[in-house]
Structures are given as C-alpha cells and as structure tokens.
Assembly symmetry: C2
Homo-oligomer: 303 residues x 2
C-alpha cells in the first residue's frame, strides 16, 4: 500500500531561488492529501505532472500566507477545469470566510462543494478518518494558532500465507476471516488455526508534519517513533535566538527533536531565504540525527 509524500515547496515566508512556500502532497493508498498550500502550489503540481483533481482533502496548518495563499487559486482552477466532486478542507476557522469573500467577489460560484472543517486549536484531536488512515492534529507553538498533522495508518489485517492456503484449498470466502485472525474449520470439523495460515501484518506507518513551531518538547510524545517526521528547520543554529523570537526551529533543534522522539527518519524544510545553499542546514541536522533528508522540491519520500 503506497504511503509517500511529495515536496511541493520548502521555502519559508517568501518564494526565493525557485523555491516555493510550503506545500506537500501525501499519497496514502491513492488517496491524495494536500498539506499546506503556499502561493504557486498549483504551478508546482503542474510542473511535476500531478493531477490536482485527485486531491480530495486539504489540511492547512495555520494562517500565515506562506502556508495558504495558493489555496484560492488552486480551488478556483479545480472549478474552472470542471470539478464537481466535493473537496474537504481542514483549517483554522478564519479561512472559511477568507475563501468565501474571494469566491463571492469572482461572481461565479464554484462548480463543486467545499466541505470546511474548522480545526480545534490548543488541543490535539482527530479531524479525519477513513478506512485505512486517521489524521490527528499536533498542537504547535507559533506566533498564531498552528497545528501539525499526524497521519496514522490503522492496524492492518494479517497477511495470508498463500502456499498454505492454496494447498489446503481453503475457500476464498474464508480468506478475509483468516486475515482477521478467525480460525478455519473444514467440512469434516478439522480446525486450522488462523495464526498458522497467516503472518503478522505490516506495522501501521505514521507520518508527522510539524510546521511552523518553536522547538518544544510539548509534542514529543505524539511523534514518538514515527516512520517519517517532517519538521521545520528555518534557521541554522547560530540563529537560535532569532528562531526563538520568531517561533521557529533550527536545523540542530530539529535533529534533537528527531533523536529524542526516536523517529525513523527526519525530513527538514521551511528554509529561510538567507540560505541559498541548503547543504549546511542538512549537515547541521545530520550531526545530531544521521537519518535526515532535505525536503527538496519535487522529491518523493516513502513512509
């Protein structure tokens, strides 16, 4: 089951050096989730040949422009290009009227419904759930209310051992029961233990998205052990005072968070315009947490 994230923007505050403000596309089992939507996100989707009509769920972390100014344009293009199926937006409450006032000014209602859900602030909560994934907010500490997002796969069913099942000629109808751990009893009354005919399921995977925030241990327990942690790393650590002042994190701090939370892999992004070359940020984080990657635009990371 595919679970991967594609980076559409990695710049903080403003676009610069052909780097765009924050946006990421998460693909979980061919369901597409957009996380944040800085100006020019639709341009990036075009550049990378991603069909934006496949996106059904949009999550906005907070209302600084570099995380949402591209949303109205993307939504408008979806309508102009014939979308009729609804889109689901999870965002701070104020975004609803920001979108509405612009749609109204355009004089033409969108051709599809927007289902808007205001994210509760200051408390972590489950805001989305489907058959295979749950999305939970992470309360971050920024200059305006801001939440990260935890995309958690649900527990999966056990994996059938095909050779055994075939040799025993177990009817197809019973396979789903075996996957759920229910034993099979044949016509003669002979019982075959589900645990002998199946193996342990894959562990549910988790993706944590943390942007923007001052470095804090307040959300450490929530991101503990995640498969992939995206964490903002706006500055190098020589700028730690400025990072604190502006409620951002340094590359070194992002590494420390990853190490303390014992995550499997760290992805850093949201880079300040002062860094044309991102290598030093990468090296700084790697010094603390070796398995760190740069959120380079256009790259896709498996979770």
């Amino acid at each position: 089951m595919r679970f991967e994230v594609t980076i559409l923007g990695n710049s903080s505050a403003t676009p610069v050096y052909d780097r765009n403000p924050t946006a990421q596309l998460l693909n979980h089992n061919e369901k597409f989730f957009l996380i944040d939507c800085g100006e020019g996100t639709q341009h990036r989707l075009l550049r990378y040949g991603i069909k934006y009509q496949r996106i059904d769920y949009i999550f906005i972390s907070h209302l600084h422009g570099d995380h949402y100014y591209g949303l109205i344009g993307l939504l408008s293009s979806m309508s102009l290009n014939g979308r009729v199926k609804p889109i689901f937006i999870y965002a701070p409450a104020a975004l609803e009227s920001i979108l509405a006032i612009q749609i109204e000014a355009g004089g033409t209602p969108f051709k599809y419904p927007i289902e808007f859900f205001a994210i509760p602030q200051n408390v972590s909560s489950v805001i989305f759930e489907n058959e295979s994934i749950v999305v939970e907010t992470i309360v971050l500490q920024h200059r305006v209310p801001c939440t990260g997002f935890l995309f958690k796969e649900k527990s999966k069913s056990r994996k059938v051992l095909k050779d055994k099942v075939t040799s025993l000629a177990i009817p197809t109808a019973y396979i789903s029961l075996l996957k759920r751990g229910i034993d099979y009893r044949d016509a003669s009354g002979q019982v075959y233990a589900a645990y002998d005919l199946t193996s342990e399921p894959d562990a549910p995977r988790v993706y944590a998205y943390c942007s923007d925030t001052v470095c804090s241990e307040s959300y450490l327990s929530q991101i503990e052990g995640v498969d992939l942690l995206y964490h903002e790393a706006t500055f190098m650590h020589d700028m730690v005072e400025r990072a604190s002042l502006t409620f951002h994190t340094t590359a070194q701090q992002a590494g420390e968070i990853a190490r303390k939370a014992k995550v499997k892999k760290l992805l850093i992004g949201h880079f300040s315009a002062r860094y044309k070359d991102l290598t030093p940020l990468h090296l700084e984080a790697k010094c603390v947490f070796e398995n760190t990657e740069l959120a380079q635009e256009g790259m896709t990371f498996s979770i």
Copy 2:
C-alpha cells in the same frame, strides 16, 4: 524618457505551460506601475530580476482570480522584506476587505501603509496623476465590473536647440521659460522668439490596457490612436460564440479593434489554456492588423 511595459503573465483563467495569469509591469520614467497581479506574479518578478520594492502603484482591473490572486503574496513579501514606504492600490472596492481579512488572519500588520482607492465602475475617470502621466479608466464589458487603464503622458515642453541657445549665450535661468514657449529678451531689449530657439516637443505617448472584455466599440474613442494597445485575445475566432458567452475577445476581433482605433501597435494576451502554441492567435490578429505582437512573458515593449 523611458516608457515600456514588461509582460509577467499572459494566461487566462489558470496557469498552464509555464504561462502565468495576467500581470504587467509598466515603467514610466523609472516610476513602476503594476497592472493586475495573477498568482505567481512575485515569482515572475524574481525570475526576471525585477526589484519589486520599486513598484509604488498597483492597478487591478477586476476581481477574477487570474487578475489578483497574487497580490496578497506580493504585498506580504514586500512587508517581510522590510518595505516601509506606502503602496497605492487602485482596484474594485471589494478588494480592500479581501486584503484586510487576510492581513488580519496573519496576526502581524504590514510594516508599510496601503493606500487603497476604489475605482469608480461604469464610468471612465481619472484615478491617478503625477507630474508626467495621467491614468484614466476604460469601462470594459465583462462578467463582473471591469476597467481597463489608459496611461497618458502629459504634454511635454518644447525641446531647446542647444547650438542656437549656446551661440546666443542665453542664461540658464531662461531655458525653462523657452521650453514653455516664452520669448527671451536680452539686456539691450532684443527679443528672441522661443519658437526659433526650440523645436516641437515629442508627442505625449499613450498605453492602453484592455483586459478582460467582450469585443465592443464602446471604448473605441478612448483608445483611438494610442501608441500601444494591449488587448485581450483569449480565443481564436472559430470560438467567437464562446468568446461572446464568456465576455472575451478573439484574436481577429482584437485586430479589428486595433484597426478601427488606428492604434500604432497591438499587443495581444490573456490566452486560453487550449492554445499551447500561440502562433495561430498571432497570425489571426496580424491578418487584420499587421503590427501585432504576442505578449510573451518576460518580453519588454517600448511605448
């Protein structure tokens, strides 16, 4: 005196084929005027190495997103990059609250003042004037209230014939009087006619910006004889019904408008996403009005 326009976007409705929605930068005597501001305009300014802090005046024709969704991002970047001098925005009235609601949501007021002027709709009016140029609106016919803009140089002073003035040793203090057509009288009472010591001034130049509109003769008299007419040409003429229905113009119609108005040069833009190759649009307009150019992004046209 420099008078030129640089194309920052030529796409209608949505970005496509690395073409951006509408935006143009007008430079008159090193005063910079931005006309419309589709999403990604600040990216284009960066791409072409144009310092956006030099822009002091912004004109928005109407509130369809492809003409203004990039404005909030550009204004925000101006603030983040330290702007303190005011910016002057001329736009439909509703834009003021669209900007205000987004600035408020960001939690940090901009560091510079926005001076907002609501453009009167349905009637042409002078909305801007400085020492050398006047901006007048053109009432267009679109699905929402929409105005084009006429940038008219003011009458210029006569040009001094340097050789004659030097040989007569006319004091510098009198030069500006000669330019205004006032004769010079020397100490002996001898009169030298200003018209003998100066030549005719350069004709004031005019740039007309007409986007978006259905083809109409209603604004013909206003654009008569202009040096450069930018006119939208969203469709080829085989789509003339769709053009009428959506209140747009075809390339052929843009050529006809240019011919009827006896303009010196026509620039067409605002191309539909259905045209990857723009050559046919260019040829169609040229069949009617030979001196036509395509508004290609990054190109600068002298006026």
